[in-house]
């Protein structure tokens, strides 16, 4: 399958990844190589084979009791920006005031 720079730009938007224009051609070439490779998958009739289970066949629920993991440090210790108990982020474009 042919993958062009426009395809990569679109997929990068879906994946919330900033990609510079200069990087698009080589990423398109890499993706085309990878997608061509995975297309070698044999044509197995999919039928009811879409469900794959590894691990225990029946997942068991925990007792419904509050059992918090004790934290060695509070959330703000790793937060890039924190104020009054909240993570601080820039405003969505066109919404609210400037941060």
């Amino acid at each position: 399958m042919k993958i062009g720079t426009g395809d990569v730009r679109h997929i990068a938007t879906l994946a919330e990844l900033e990609i510079s224009e200069a990087e698009l051609p080589s990423l398109a070439a890499d993706m085309e190589r990878i997608v061509t490779f995975v297309e070698q998958l044999p044509d197995i009739p999919v039928g009811d084979r879409t469900s794959v289970t590894v691990g225990p066949s029946a997942l068991r629920l925990r007792e419904d009791v509050v059992d918090p993991v004790p934290l060695a440090r509070p959330p703000e210790a790793n937060a890039p920006a924190w104020r009054d108990g909240f993570f601080v982020v820039p405003a969505l474009d066109g919404l609210g005031e400037d941060e």
Partner: protein, 458 residues
Amino acid sequence: MMASAVAGLVERLESSAHLNATLAWSHAALEGEAANVRSVGAGPLSSMPIAVKDNIVTTTLPTTCASRILEGYVSPYEATVVTRLRAAGALIACKANLDEFAMGSSTEHSAYGRVHHPLDPDLVPGGSSGGSAALVAADVVPAALGSETGGSVRQPAAFCGIVGIKPTYGRVSRHGLVSFGSSLDCVSPFGRTVDDAARVLEVISGHDPRDVTTHALPPLDASEHLHRLDGITIGLPAEYFPDDLDPGIRAACELGVARLREQGATIRRVSLPHTGAAVPAYYIVNPAEAAANLARYDGVRYGTRQIGDAGDLRALYRATRGRGFGPEVRRRILVGTFALSAGYTDRYYARAQAARRCIIDDFTSVFADGVDLLFTPTTPTTAFRAGEKLADPVQMYLADVFVCPASLAGVPAMSLPLGRSGGLPVGGQLIGPSLGEARMIAVARLLESVLDATAEVR
């Protein structure tokens, strides 16, 4: 005694710095570890220093996953496997370098520089758990934790001439292992010997209420010692011995088979017909799961943050992720997003799942047909040169051709050194049925005792 053990470890960590195998260790953290060892007293791993791959969280050292996006991150909680190691008297020696977010087969995709092979600095140690493997192979630590998604412990174990055991999916808790491919990820130990790796696996295994995908089983008992292999059938799958297999790898495997036969094992040729579908299926399932799991790195709650040019929230997401992730991580996120996008899910993801189902059925039927274990090469070549496979991602993916199938099937598998070819270690792989670790390890222990892992084959 403890003080001199820590001093010895510090000396080994310092003298192995040229390998670039560690991402974090500190004198203060080691003092804390030593105090813990003293308070635990006699435990099954008493005073054993263990390196931990840097995608397993610890509260005492940072966890970066070898990514710029997690630079400076120190976890607020500890992985279940780390808690269990400490309770058994082990000492967390350091955090080990890896391919960024465990994506790679050479440990060249670390944002903090590649890991060098202990026998030749121009070679790669394998990956993604290359730092853990190099530290064990260089005698810095007797054992280490790595993680497997598609062979990331067995492949570097083979390249470095040590033992690596991937347990059954669900045998060991994933709580605190940074999620990559959630239906594939397994914390997996390395050891210089089968015994060292097996002892670590025993300690970290068993049900964990914090990971719903763990089996409701007590810890593994891998203490079985076999004196002979009479009555045990070992299958040799034709698909793992292609005509163009590297002659040194083939010779080492033939030696392994001869030793198994001498010990009384019945050798049977078998077929796992869907083996060829494993790598293509893996490189759809794995990026799809990775794209979903790595959506959490957004620059809001932890990790590094980049303010995008537009200055709004989406620009922050895109700049943080676009600049924080390295090339291989971005490729996988793009491929995974593509394979799950509207119009392509049936063509890629559904077909990959169908192939995975067939691969699982291959293993189930061969084990139901009287085969106790499978024996194969772990890798198609010995350790390759740094840079050799960087230009073509598909060549890098094919380094995992013999290790991917067991990962997709969730069955246990391990690599142990068979001997050397051209001066470099060759690994042999044993694959067992689901939850069949104890027998697999017992056979490996006997095979190890009748092989000279450092001898040139032929």
